[in-house]
Symmetry: C2
Subunit: 335 residues, 2 copies
DNA sequence: GTGAAAGCGCTAACAC
DNA sequence: GTGTTAGCGCTTTCAC
């Protein structure tokens, strides 16, 4: 049967309090007593029961992470670096995948806030802040990751993509492009909105063709890439900006299949993506916008623990910046 | 403050037992009483506390998954489909990342089996079964995923790659290759061992050059790909088999950078990888070995719940098979 | 058809 | 320097 703290106490000839304090280092215990306790623990093969402990203390030592798409390497990498940081601090990570589906997010929000985790990291697929907010119990620690709401009630960790997208358009314009297309994600997402508005502004500033049909909205998952590209090609665009790394890979391949060489029919393509060691190998012929993906995960981990430990600490918006890599740069061979 | 089951009971004018049974449907409650309970719950905004419940029942409704590399799409996809199935059954998924590091796996094994989860899915990076086994409390539900041990004590879900690798070698041989190289993963992994032995057997059977230097072991992460490729190229091989999808992408790019066209200096390349919708676009010029990644995740989910619910059910080894896609096949356009 | 009450294993006052 | 003990919120046996 299960061996409990009382079994240990009995065998060691001490009280359960002493055993507890010995294990947790929460008060002084004499060397000799410690010894007896540890010996008893070893002999019985005792392991403190995590759920009894959580129940008692109210701390679960667990953070939830609601993501739109685990299999997307962008989020996979964020999860990885968040988990890496959290495990360092003795926390576990519970993952929930929404597949960009609002109901799934609702369900998970409800389940995870019901005493399962100490805090929640959310890359939300919702656009209705009021609704999102209504699903979070008052005072529950939440940090928004990658995606924001207009209303800045919750702390967030995100990436600014306005400037790089603006710059992409300018560079395409300078190369002679007149009709620059944009392949964006789900229209409701803050990241999409920000990129689209940067695009619109730059297109106007550069005097390029300003045509809503040049903006193609995908569903933020890779499968929508070909359709988006087809739409843009049918619009005779001569430059393309792809707002997502996963889609970008597909786009490149699809272009190649269609025998449309880059810098020929199409002047230039810019990507927004995560930084992979092998990245340069693939895409050296195009501009890259590299997001600081590991840092997002790390920052997310730091912020959520800050809020878990001090729920009333000030609400920060942490905005990280992407790196813009123009394609003329000297090639830095991976490895 | 926190609202508990007693608050609800008091407001509804019933006992906590009735509230509990109403919520859980564990015994008959009259319609009228139910109503009162639900009204009280709504009024107070009551949510049952998950950790109290776990503590009481001993069921956490949580499965742990120890993976070597979350950011690898192969595992990302397995996690995704496992999570998908588990959430369907009311279970949550705790992720732990080992980065192919044995100590990290040990730590996580210890932490997760200490009352945190009901069962454990593990894609182990260990090769010492005895050691692994010693870290699992007797009777604790465990299912091995993707990677096996020689000793078949634990149930497992894995993929057979012997036949496809054997076939790859044969096909390269038929194309005229004499020196076929293999880019494998960590030598200690069962998947690597199985693939290497298929390779060795086929090389012998086909009368190809049999040279240990033609086998290049990576670390099962993408960053080792270029070094592996360089090693093989220095061996003047005329065909290459890449045992991992992540590495394969890097290899393709690296070959292109080196201006080595496929089917020119190198006769053919085969990949072992997951099935992505866009896959055909990329790699149509090579044979593909497509692993049933979603099914691995699903099967893993099914198996672990079976064991959680019936710890003494028979130990199954579930072996799934990959799909071999020769490159001459008529192209099935993605989508 | 419903209630009373005993714990699950642990931590943390409070006591000495 | 260590022991006693209440109680975290819930489920479930036993009782009526």
């Amino acid at each position: 049967m299960k061996v409990t703290i009382s079994d240990v106490a009995r065998l060691a000839g001490v009280s359960t309090a002493t055993v507890s304090h010995t294990i947790n280092g929460t008060r002084y215990v004499s060397g000799e007593t410690k010894d007896r306790v540890y010996r008893a623990i070893a002999e019985l093969g005792y392991t403190p029961d995590a759920s009894a402990r959580s129940f008692r203390t109210g701390k679960k030592k667990t953070i939830g992470f609601i993501v739109p798409d685990i299999s997307n390497k962008f989020f996979g990498t964020i999860i990885e670096s968040a988990e890496n940081y959290l495990s360092t601090k003795g926390y576990h990570l519970i993952i929930a995948n929404t597949k960009e589906n609002v109901e799934r997010e609702e369900t998970n929000l409800r389940l995870l806030t019901a005493g399962l985790v100490d805090g929640l990291l959310v890359a939300s697929t919702m656009d209705d802040f009021r609704h999102f907010d209504s699903l979070i119990p008052a005072g529950f620690p939440v940090v928004l990751v990658d995606r924001n709401f207009e209303t800045k009630k919750f702390p967030s960790v995100s990436v600014s993509n306005f400037q790089p997208i603006y710059r992409s358009v300018c560079r395409l314009s300078a190369k002679g492009c007149k009709r620059v297309g944009l392949i964006a994600g789900l229209p409701r997402l803050s990241t999409t909105k920000e990129r689209v508005s940067a695009y619109r502004e730059a297109v106007a500033d550069c005097g390029l063709d300003c045509d809503e049909a040049l903006i193609s909205y995908g569903d933020s998952m890779e499968s929508s890439a070909p359709a988006c590209l087809d739409q843009l090609l049918s619009q005779n665009c001569d430059g393309i900006i792809v707002c997502q790394g996963l889609m970008a890979s597909v786009i490149i391949a699809y272009l190649r299949q269609k025998d449309l060489m880059l810098s020929q029919n199409l002047m230039l393509v810019s990507f927004v993506d995560y930084n992979v060691q092998s990245y340069n190998l693939y895409y050296q012929q195009v501009d890259q916008i590299v997001q600081p993906v590991e840092e997002i995960g790390l920052a997310a981990g730091e912020e959520i623990l800050r809020r878990v430990e001090a729920p009333d600490s000030p609400v920060f918006e942490r905005v990280l910046t992407s790196t813009y890599k123009p394609y003329e740069w000297p090639k830095a061979a991976g490895n």
